[in-house]
């Protein structure tokens, strides 16, 4: 019986946990941590089981890799639906892994009260999981807002004028993007009369030309909103500032945030743009935007002076690569793109976690620059009292939390090298496999025929930006580990070191099992590019025998 309710667990569990954590006083630190961890553990387990179910391993429960859960028991085109397929199950698992790693890391003193952390963190998970699971556009909006609201709070953690300023930019941009999202949703509803993603597909073809034009406008506005979240080129100037201002575990958890935008583009794009004249226009636009994003991210990486900014730009570059690949609109490119998606999420997580430790190699005089609120605290403004800003510098390293690990510099160096290999896409780490598969699929996409110039651009872009990223990362690594100036060996705790190491090891495992992983991604891509199956299964779900409590009177 539980198994039928499984799709709703990734939303309900963190929601309940977050609500409990809001009410629980700060003194119960152990209890709070236990709740937070058991919630995330449950999410990892639920995501893993969903992933297993979506591979058709148990055909009695779900057929053809799509599971539908109707909240309230209303029959599909009308009620609120959760839909799990391979792609969303994969996203859920990635989210849960990244979040768990960042939560373990945050235990090393980053999550201390008085500012709320755990509850916001759980609400972030509600938003992320919900956005991946939902089957209609309006709930996608709602879950986007949930995750954004939580991310605003998490970004502000530690306050300081730099964080507050960047959070202001971040909130303003995202609020404007949310309004675009709403306008797009309203236009789609106004023309087509439904917001259910599966229902859209069948009804688009029935639209009369003037209505069709309006619908296309709505879809395009929706696309702009997604591209803002994904950090696509002309819309991404907010991203490096806000991501590099966030504390390390929060930035690591944000690794999934830009990818939600990419996921939405992928999901809605494949649903609407299959055999469509619109795809012929939108594909190249998406490709060139993605290509520009890839270039902009790489140039930003070359220009960045701080490791944290550099990692933020690498997030942009990876988004760009994904968008450009999706823009080509070739089915053969989707599985390697998904592989790259998974690796880049893990990479970003590990790298952001690492920046929290490498920041401490700088000596105190230099560190003052990264702690802007030291001077500001002396201002006698009521704001400080109101927002509890007068907490002691929360991230000073003098406090001993947990056990330290030996050979700290060697560990940092090794992890840094792994992250460099991951970002730049060199063997033996999985982003090499992903990029290699991408290149090979791109070059083989027209056997005997002429490859379109976009493919050549993509191939050149992947290789060129890989080299540029390697140069940028090597340069900053030399400055960080070998360069002149006073350096000190930071005291690294197991709690901080272990998550980074585990994520890097996971990447290694992914590259060792890349064969079976690739088969999974191929199946996921197949079901993505056959939206009729998705539509048929979702819409054929009867309302009467729903496993929900709403109908059992």
């Amino acid at each position: 019986m539980l198994i039928t309710h499984l799709p709703v667990l990734p939303i309900v569990v963190p929601l309940v946990a977050g609500a409990v954590l809001v009410l629980l006083p700060d003194e119960h630190r152990v209890l709070r941590l236990m709740i937070a961890f058991s919630s995330l553990g449950a999410q990892v387990a639920a995501a893993a089981v969903l992933l297993y179910l979506s591979t058709d391993a148990v055909p009695d429960i779900w057929s053809e890799g799509v599971g539908v859960y109707a909240i309230g028991g209303w029959p599909p085109p009308f009620g609120i639906l959760l839909v799990v397929d391979r792609l969303s199950a994969l996203m859920l698992l990635l989210t849960a892994i990244v979040a768990l790693a960042a939560l373990v890391y945050s235990m090393a003193g980053w999550e201390r009260p008085p500012q709320p952390f755990h509850s916001l963190y759980q609400f972030l998970m509600v938003g992320l999981n919900g956005a991946f699971l939902t089957g209609d556009l309006f709930n996608l909006f709602v879950f986007f807002e949930v995750l954004l609201a939580a991310s605003y709070g998490l970004l502000l953690r530690g306050v300081g004028v730099r964080r507050v300023r960047n959070a202001l930019h971040y909130i303003a941009v995202n609020l404007a993007a949310s309004l675009l999202f709403l306008i797009g949703v309203a236009l789609i509803y106004g023309t087509i009369g439904t917001l259910n993603m599966a229902d859209l597909l069948g009804k688009v073809a029935l639209l009369a030309p003037p209505e069709r034009a309006l619908f296309d406008v709505g879809a395009a506005i929706l696309g702009i909103a997604f591209l803002v979240k994904a950090g696509s080129w002309p819309l991404n100037f907010w991203l490096p500032g806000s991501y590099s201002a966030a504390i390390a575990p929060v930035a690591a958890a944000f690794a999934m945030l830009t990818k939600v935008g990419v996921y939405a583009v992928l999901r809605i794009g494949t649903l609407l743009g299959e055999d469509d004249a619109a795809a012929a226009i939108l594909g190249p636009i998406l490709f060139y935007l993605g290509f520009a994003t890839l270039l902009a991210g790489t140039i930003g990486m070359l220009a960045a002076q701080q490791l944290r900014r550099l990692v933020s730009y690498s997030v942009i570059a990876s988004s760009g690569l994904l968008l450009a690949t999706l823009g080509i609109g070739n089915e053969a490119l989707t599985p390697p793109a998904l592989f790259y998606f998974a690796t880049s999420v893990l990479t970003t997580c590990a790298f952001f976690l690492l920046t929290g430790m490498t920041d401490r190699t700088r000596v105190a005089a230099d560190a003052a620059a990264s702690v802007p609120n030291l001077t500001a605290i002396e201002l006698p403004t009521p704001t400080y009292l109101a927002f509890g800003v007068r907490e002691p510098q929360p991230y000073d390293t003098s406090e001993e939390v947990g056990t330290a690990i030996p050979a700290a510099m060697a560990f940092l160096g090794l992890m840094f090298v792994c992250c460099v290999l991951l970002v730049a896409g060199l063997p033996p780490l999985p982003s090499f496999v992903a990029k290699f598969a991408l290149l090979s699929a791109a070059l083989n996409s027209a056997p005997g025929g002429q490859l379109p110039h976009q493919t050549w651009l993509l191939v050149g872009g992947i290789l060129g930006t890989g080299l540029a990223q390697l140069i940028a990362l090597t340069r900053i690594g030399i400055r960080l580990f070998w360069g002149g100036g006073v350096r000190r060996t930071p005291r690294l705790r197991v709690l901080e070191a272990a998550p980074v190491a585990v994520v890097v090891l996971l990447c290694l495992a992914l590259s060792a099992m890349s064969g079976s992983a690739m088969r999974f991604f191929e199946a996921a891509a197949r079901s993505l590019h056959a939206p009729e199956v998705y539509t048929r299964i979702v819409l054929s779900k009867p309302g009467a025998d729903q496993p929900s409590g709403g109908h059992e009177r």
Binding site: V164, L168, A172, L187, L195, L379
Partner: protein, 114 residues
């Protein structure tokens, strides 16, 4: 009536966009509020403007769907208002915090010429 409605949305949205691009935080928040009003009106308008038609079907049963207003945009607007209200309140808090920390109401936390 449609043209008046559309013009009203256009004027409010235009004013909102202009304010959003201004350098002072207070102007930005008013701009965002105006934009969200315009968006809410727009969503409502997408449910078609009708008069004297209930959105809820009563006990009498369904006779003709054309006799009823579309309830879905109204529900969407309600959700959007709640979410917009909450995020605007949060933005206000950040705005005041920035004013307190930076000592200026410029969106960048410092005056452009200083």
């Amino acid at each position: 009536m449609e043209i008046v409605y559309a013009l009203a949305i256009g004027i409010v949205a235009g004013a909102g966009v202009w304010l959003l691009l201004r350098p002072r935080t207070f102007q930005v928040i008013i701009g965002l509020s105006l934009l969200s009003y315009a968006t809410n009106l727009f969503i409502f308008g997408m449910g078609r403007i009708t008069l004297h038609r209930p959105p809820i079907i009563g006990d009498e049963g369904v006779t003709d769907p054309a006799l009823y207003a579309d309830p879905v945009p109204q529900a969407l607007v309600l959700t959007a208002i709640v979410i917009g209200f909450a995020t605007t309140a949060l933005f206000l808090v950040v705005l005041i915090a920035l004013r307190g920390l930076a000592g200026t109401d410029h969106v960048d936390g410092r005056e452009p010429d200083s």
